[in-house]
């Protein structure tokens, strides 16, 4: 089973992602950037689902910290976010995210497709 790390501070959203993915993936969850950066070192996942609006360190800062580390430079990271204004997709992909999925997740297949595309690459 592939390992996916989820970084999400909102417990409702976290529970939803778990409900959607727990049957198919091994999940590890983090509620803050600091927690994630510490945990990811010892338990490297195959892919990360990263929220953007997080307290203290936001998703783009976590991305930058991860990309600076050679070990995570190539790791697939998907932005899972409620930032969904017209140009946001281009903005986040431009920053170095490999995928972009908006909240609310209207259809779980959108999330699965985004994950599977990156995992099979």
């Amino acid at each position: 089973m592939k390992k996916i790390a989820v970084v999400e501070d909102n417990p409702d959203n976290l529970m939803l992602v778990e409900a959607l993915l727990e049957d198919d993936y091994e999940l590890q969850t983090y509620e803050s950037g600091k927690e994630a950066l510490a945990g990811l070192q010892t338990n490297k996942p195959d892919l990360i689902l990263l929220d953007i609006s997080l307290p203290e360190m936001d998703g783009t800062q976590i991305l930058a910290a991860l990309r600076a580390n050679p070990e995570f430079a190539q790791l697939p990271i998907i932005a899972l976010t409620a930032h969904a204004m017209a140009s946001d997709r281009e903005k986040y992909l431009g920053m170095g995210f490999d995928g972009y999925v908006t909240k609310p997740i209207e259809d779980e297949s959108i999330l699965f497709d985004a994950i599977e595309t990156l995992l099979t690459d």
């Binding site: 959607l20 409620a82 204004m85 017209a86 609310p104």
Partner: protein, 508 residues
């Protein structure tokens, strides 16, 4: 010059003398008046002042000196030149006459050529002095009445001359000027700047453009813009001449304008920020509403009965409807805030239409409609906002299938006007609309009536947004319909949308 027609007065008690001189001068073109006595001369001068007087000294009753003195009481030597006619070798007479204000003299017996030369010389002096005076008055008038501030300042910084506008703007009166120096009217913060300009003038620049600040008598700053020139003599400064324009109001207006612009930009920025936050905050709770209803609808454990599943399905459907509303309202807010920018690129029309058709299939199938696509092969590429155009077409196809059951929907794509424009026509065989409905169609929230909205769903914003998008691309959307027979919606946009047609290039 009216030299030769000048009016001369000859005063002499000897008729012979008068006539000899008078006749010869008349031949030269002068107009001559003769007076045989002092009294007569004074009368002539009072009645018709001549331009020059030839005055004999020795006369009974009122002599030449007396007449000369009377003339000088009223007229300056340049206003009315007097040439004395004296006896030969009487140098005392000459001295006295000159002291009394005579301009020149001739001695008896009169040499006509000399006399004529002296007359001409005096008249020419008189005319050039008059011209000089007039020119000086003209300049003084120009300076005094100029709207610009004009000042002449000597080497000690004292004011030699200031004009009316200067006095009015800076609030000083003539009496103040005695003790005033240039440093009293220069704002202390501008002092260094002015000294530098002065040094450059001393160094040889012909004039200095300077924008600086003066202070008026009550201590208020006056912003000025002008130029200063320097008069030097033997390398030493004699005076500076400055002409300045009061730009205080102009500067204040510019500052106001800058501030309003900044405020407007800040407000615009705040509005964009608000829309982005709003979008984020509304979407977050919907993630749970839609997401968990999706999870529960799978009924993994088989615990939910049919009725419960149907209720869940309503939560999910309404959650999605709320999401569409949020998306549409945000789209519209962005459009109305001028924050929506087009993303223009070239794309293949055929591929684009295939994409639109596959995207609309579920909608078409829902009411058992069929979709027919009429498209010329080899349409090539167009340059437009693909995403926005797709949103418009999906909206039209969605509307068509929503209001048509068991019918046919035809999408026709064609070029018009020498291939400069592309047209997308969506024709349905649905319920159609009356004129009143058509009239309000592109306004927000105007689905035919509330029962239509309940029956057919939709946010009521789709056509408003599509209309805006088409306009932004320099095109338009139009409609024709007959109740009970169906509707035709047509989108026409330039095949090459230009940046000019997209307003507001700064997106959030």
């Amino acid at each position: 010059m009216t030299k030769n027609t000048a009016h001369l007065l000859i005063v002499d008690d000897h008729e012979m003398n008068r006539q000899v001189l008078g006749l010869r001068l008349e031949k030269k073109g002068y107009r001559i008046t003769e007076a045989e006595s002092g009294q007569q001369a004074l009368n002539h001068i009072a009645n018709e002042p001549p331009e020059l007087v030839l005055l004999d000294i020795m006369m009974p009753e009122i002599d030449g000196y007396e007449i000369l003195a009377r003339i000088r009481q009223q007229y300056s030597p340049t206003e009315m030149p007097v040439i004395m006619v004296t006896a030969k070798d009487m140098s005392q007479d000459v001295v006295r006459a000159l002291e009394l204000g005579a301009n020149d003299y001739v001695t008896k017996p009169v040499d006509f050529a000399v006399t004529l030369a002296r007359i001409q010389s005096q008249l020419s002096l008189k005319h050039s002095e008059a011209a000089l005076k007039e020119s000086e008055e003209r300049y003084r008038d120009l300076f005094e009445n100029a709207h610009d501030l004009i000042q002449i300042v000597d080497a000690d910084g004292k004011f030699l001359f200031v004009n009316q506008a200067w006095r009015e703007t800076l609030g000083y009166i003539d009496e103040d000027l005695t003790d005033l120096t240039i440093w009293d009217i220069i704002d202390p913060r501008s002092k260094t700047q002015c000294i530098r300009a002065f040094k450059r003038l001393m160094g040889g620049t012909p004039s200095e453009q300077i924008e600086t600040t003066f202070v008026n008598k009550s201590g208020q700053p006056v912003d000025v813009d002008g130029s200063v020139t320097l008069r030097k003599s033997n390398g030493k400064a004699i005076a500076t001449r400055g002409i300045f324009r009061d730009i205080t109001l102009q500067k204040a207006m510019m500052a106001d304008l800058e501030e309003s612009k900044k405020n407007a930009e800040d407000a615009n920025q705040a509005k964009s920020q608000f829309l982005a936050s709003m979008s984020h905050e509304l979407r977050t709770p919907l993630n749970s509403v839609i997401g968990f209803s999706n999870v529960l609808l799978k009924n993994k454990n088989g615990h939910l009965d049919k009725k419960e599943l149907s209720q869940l399905e309503r939560i999910q459907r309404n959650g999605k409807h709320l999401l569409s509303l949020i998306n549409d309202v945000l789209d519209l807010s962005k459009i109305e805030a001028g924050k929506m920018e087009l993303e223009l690129h070239s794309f293949d029309v055929k591929e684009f239409i295939d994409d639109v058709v596959s995207g609309s299939q579920p909608l078409i199938a829902k009411n058992k409609n069929v979709l027919e696509v009429v498209i010329t092969p080899d349409l090539g590429e167009i340059y437009a906002d693909e995403t926005r155009l797709k949103q418009c077409l999906l909206n039209l196809l969605s509307n068509a299938s929503k209001f048509t059951e068991n019918g046919k929907i035809v999408l026709t794509v064609s070029f018009m006007k020498n291939n400069d424009w592309i047209q997308f026509e969506v024709r349905d065989t649905g319920i159609g609309m009356d004129q009143k409905t058509i009239d309000g169609l592109f306004q927000p929230f105007t689905q035919a009536d509330t029962s239509t909205a309940r029956k057919y769903g939709g946010t009521g914003l789709g056509l408003t947004i599509s209309h805006h998008f088409c306009n932004m691309m320099g095109g338009d959307i139009s409609v024709a319909s007959t109740p009970g027979e169906g509707s035709v919606f047509t989108i026409a946009i330039p095949a090459q949308v230009s940046i000019d047609s997209s307003k507001n290039p700064n997106a959030s």
